[in-house]
C-alpha cells in the first residue's frame, strides 16, 4: 500500500500556555480530497501551517510523501494558499505565476501559466495588475499560484472565503478536476455544504483534537426511521433505510396500521454541531 501523501501523527502544538493542537492524527491519501472542519481557533490553520513548514510542531510528526514537513523535498511537493495572503500589487497575474515558477523550478513556461489562469477562469486577466483585481479574483489567482509546478498535495485554508457563489462553483469544479488528476487536497473550510458536496473524507477538529472523521456519508449516517401508525408516530433511532422494511413488517405483524414511513438522515451540519458541542471561535 502506498504511503499517504500527508501523514499527521500525534501532533501537538502549544503557543505559550495555549494548546492549539492536542494529539491529532490524520492521513490524506493520493487523490483524496479531505475537508477539515472546526470552529475558529480549533487548530485547523495551525495544522495546515505545520504541514507546509510555516509553524514548528511542539511534538508529534507530519510527513509529506514520507518527508518531514518543512523540509525542502516536502515543500517542493506541495502547494499552499493561506487564509490571509497578499501578493505584490504591482505584479500582473502572469508575472506572479512566473515568479513562483522560478521558485519551484517549474519549466512549464507560458503554457503552464496560461493553463493555470484558464483553470481559475482568469485567462483574460493575465496582464492585469493584482492591485486592480477584486478580492475574489485574487483568491482564484492564489489557487493558481498554489498549483504552480503541479504539486502532489494542495493545502487550502479557507479558499472560498472571499468568493461569490459563481467563484465558489469555479473552485468546486477545479477541486473535482484536481481529484481526477490524482492531486490530494486538504481543504480547510467553514462551508459545511461545500465540504459535504466535494470532499471524500471529512475530519472535524475541536479544541485541538480530532473529534470525528469519516466520509460525509458515514458521518451523516442514518438518524432514524420514523413511522406514522394508527397509534401515533413512532421513531426508531439509529435505524437506516435497510432496516425500514423489517420495522414495517414487525409493526404490521403486531397489528399496527402503517400510513407513512420516513428514513431521516442527520446532515453534516447536525454531526458537526454535535461534534463541536456548539463551540464557536
Amino acid at each position: 500500500m502506498a504511503a499517504p501523501v500527508l501523514a499527521v501523527s500525534q501532533l501537538h502544538k502549544r503557543y505559550g500556555g495555549q494548546e492549539a493542537l492536542a494529539g491529532v492524527d490524520l492521513e490524506v491519501e493520493a487523490g483524496q480530497l479531505v475537508g477539515l472542519l472546526g470552529p475558529n481557533g480549533a487548530g485547523k490553520s495551525t495544522l495546515t501551517k505545520i504541514a507546509c513548514g510555516l509553524v514548528r510542531p511542539s511534538a508529534g510528526s507530519v510527513e509529506v510523501l514520507g518527508r518531514r514537513a518543512g523540509s525542502p523535498q516536502a515543500r517542493a511537493a506541495l502547494g499552499y494558499l493561506a487564509e490571509l495572503f497578499r501578493f505584490p500589487g504591482w505584479l500582473t497575474a502572469a508575472e506572479l505565476l512566473r515568479f513562483h515558477q522560478r521558485l519551484v523550478g517549474s519549466d512549464g513556461g507560458e503554457a503552464e501559466r496560461r493553463q493555470l489562469l484558464e483553470l481559475v477562469e482568469l485567462g483574460a486577466a493575465a496582464g492585469k495588475r493584482i492591485e486592480a483585481m477584486s478580492k475574489g479574483m485574487q483568491q482564484r489567482l492564489g489557487i493558481a499560484q498554489a498549483l504552480v509546478g503541479s504539486p502532489r498535495l494542495l493545502l487550502l485554508d479557507e479558499p472560498t472565503s472571499a468568493l461569490d457563489p459563481v467563484g465558489r462553483r469555479i473552485v468546486r469544479e477545479l477541486l473535482e478536476e484536481l481529484r481526477r488528476r490524482g492531486v490530494s487536497v486538504l481543504l480547510n473550510s467553514h462551508l459545511l455544504s461545500e465540504v459535504e458536496l466535494i470532499c471524500d473524507h471529512v475530519a472535524i477538529i475541536a479544541r485541538g483534537r480530532l473529534v470525528k472523521a469519516g466520509t460525509p456519508q458515514e458521518l451523516a449516517g442514518p438518524a432514524a426511521v420514523v413511522v406514522e401508525t394508527g397509534s401515533g408516530v413512532r421513531s426508531f433511532e439509529g435505524a437506516g433505510r435497510e432496516e425500514a422494511p423489517a420495522i414495517v413488517a414487525e409493526l404490521v405483524a403486531a397489528g399496527e396500521s402503517v400510513y407513512r414511513v420516513e428514513v431521516r438522515h442527520s446532515s453534516l451540519e447536525d454531526v458537526y454541531l454535535e461534534a463541536v458541542g456548539g463551540q464557536t471561535g
Binding site: 510555516l54 514548528r56 525542502p72 493561506a82 495572503f85 497578499r86 515568479f99 522560478r102 521558485l103 492564489g142
Partner: protein, 290 residues
C-alpha cells in the same frame, strides 16, 4: 548552496530590487538626492569662490582650497550616508514580521527556497540598491566638487566602498530588527542605532580634542560596536590622508564626526560583523512561527 537554491535566490533578489525601485520611498529619496546635489553644487560653487576671494593675497596658514574642498565633501559624505541609511531601512522595512503579518511572506517561504536563502536574498536586494545608491551619490558629489573647485580627495574609491559597506551593515541591522519588531518599532530602533553610532564618533572626536583617553576609548569602542560609523570615519580620514601640515590637523576634526584612520582590521571586522548580524537574523527567522 546548490544551483536550484541560487536560481531561487536570484529570483527573490530581482523581485526585491524591482519592489525597492517601485516603492514611493525610492522616488522620495531620488527627489531628495537631486535637491541635495543641486544645493550642494550651489554651495560648493559659492564656497570655493568666496574662499578664493577671501584668501587672495593673504599669507596661507591653511590651504584654503583643500580646507574648503575637504569640508564640504565631508559634509556630502555625511548626507550620502544619511540618505543611504534611510534607503536601506525603508527597503528592509517589515521584511520578516511585517510581511508575515500581512500575508506576503508565506506564499514565498513555503516554496523550496528555504528561509535562510530567502532572507539573504532580501538582504542582497536591499544592500545592492543602497550600496549602488551611495556610490552613485558620492561620485556625483565628487564630480560637482571637482567641477566647481577643482579639488579631489586624496583617495576617491576607498571611501565610496566604505560607505557602501556601511549601508549594507545598516540594511543587515534593519533586517535583524525586522525579525522581531513591528514595522514602526523597527524603523525607530534602527534610526536610533544609526544616531547612536554617529554620536559615538562625535564622542571619540571630543575625547581626542580635549585629550581624554577614556572618552576617546569609549567613543571608539562604541563605533566598533556599530562599525558603519567606523567605516564612515575611516572614509573621512581617507579623503585627506595625504594632506599634511595645519590643514591636515584641522581637517581631522571633520564635520559630523571625526575622521579616524582605520586599517584592514576594521574592514575585516565589518565583514565579520555583517556575517554575524545576518546569521543571527537567519537563526531567529528559522525559529519563528509564521
Amino acid at each position: 548552496m546548490n544551483a536550484e537554491a541560487l536560481r531561487s535566490a536570484a529570483t527573490v533578489v530581482a523581485l526585491s530590487v524591482q519592489e525597492g525601485i517601485r516603492r514611493r520611498v525610492f522616488l522620495a529619496v531620488l527627489v531628495l538626492t537631486l535637491a541635495f546635489l543641486a544645493l550642494y553644487a550651489l554651495g560648493a560653487h559659492f564656497a570655493f569662490r568666496d574662499v578664493d576671494e577671501f584668501a587672495a593675497g593673504e599669507p596661507a596658514i591653511l590651504d584654503p582650497h583643500a580646507f574648503t574642498g575637504a569640508t564640504i565633501f565631508g559634509l556630502a559624505m555625511f548626507a550620502t550616508l544619511f540618505l543611504g541609511a534611510v534607503l536601506a531601512v525603508f527597503l528592509t522595512l517589515g521584511v520578516v514580521r511585517g510581511d508575515a503579518e500581512s500575508g506576503l511572506l508565506q506564499p514565498i517561504v513555503v516554496r523550496p527556497i528555504g528561509r535562510t536563502t530567502m532572507l539573504l536574498a532580501r538582504f542582497a536586494g536591499a544592500a545592492l540598491l543602497s550600496a549602488a545608491y551611495v556610490v552613485a551619490v558620492y561620485l556625483a558629489a565628487w564630480a560637482i566638487t571637482e567641477a566647481t573647485g577643482h579639488w579631489s580627495p586624496d583617495h576617491l574609491l576607498g571611501p565610496a566602498l566604505g560607505l557602501a559597506l556601511a549601508v549594507a551593515i545598516i540594511a543587515a541591522l534593519s533586517l535583524l530588527a525586522s525579525t522581531v519588531l513591528s514595522v514602526t518599532a523597527q524603523g525607530i530602533v534602527v534610526f536610533m542605532v544609526f544616531g547612536a553610532g554617529l554620536t559615538a564618533g562625535l564622542l571619540a572626536q571630543i575625547g581626542n580634542a580635549i585629550n581624554s583617553d577614556s572618552l576617546h576609548t569609549i567613543g571608539r569602542a562604541a563605533s566598533w560596536a556599530l562599525p558603519f560609523e567606523g567605516l564612515y570615519a575611516a572614509g573621512l580620514h581617507a579623503l585627506i590622508s595625504g594632506t599634511s601640515g595645519l590643514t591636515g590637523v584641522v581637517l581631522q576634526l571633520g564635520p559630523f564626526g571625526g575622521s579616524e584612520a582605520a586599517g584592514p582590521e576594521l574592514i575585516a571586522w565589518a565583514f565579520l560583523y555583517l556575517a554575524g548580524v545576518l546569521a543571527l537574523a537567519a537563526f531567529i527567522f528559522s525559529r519563528r512561527d509564521l
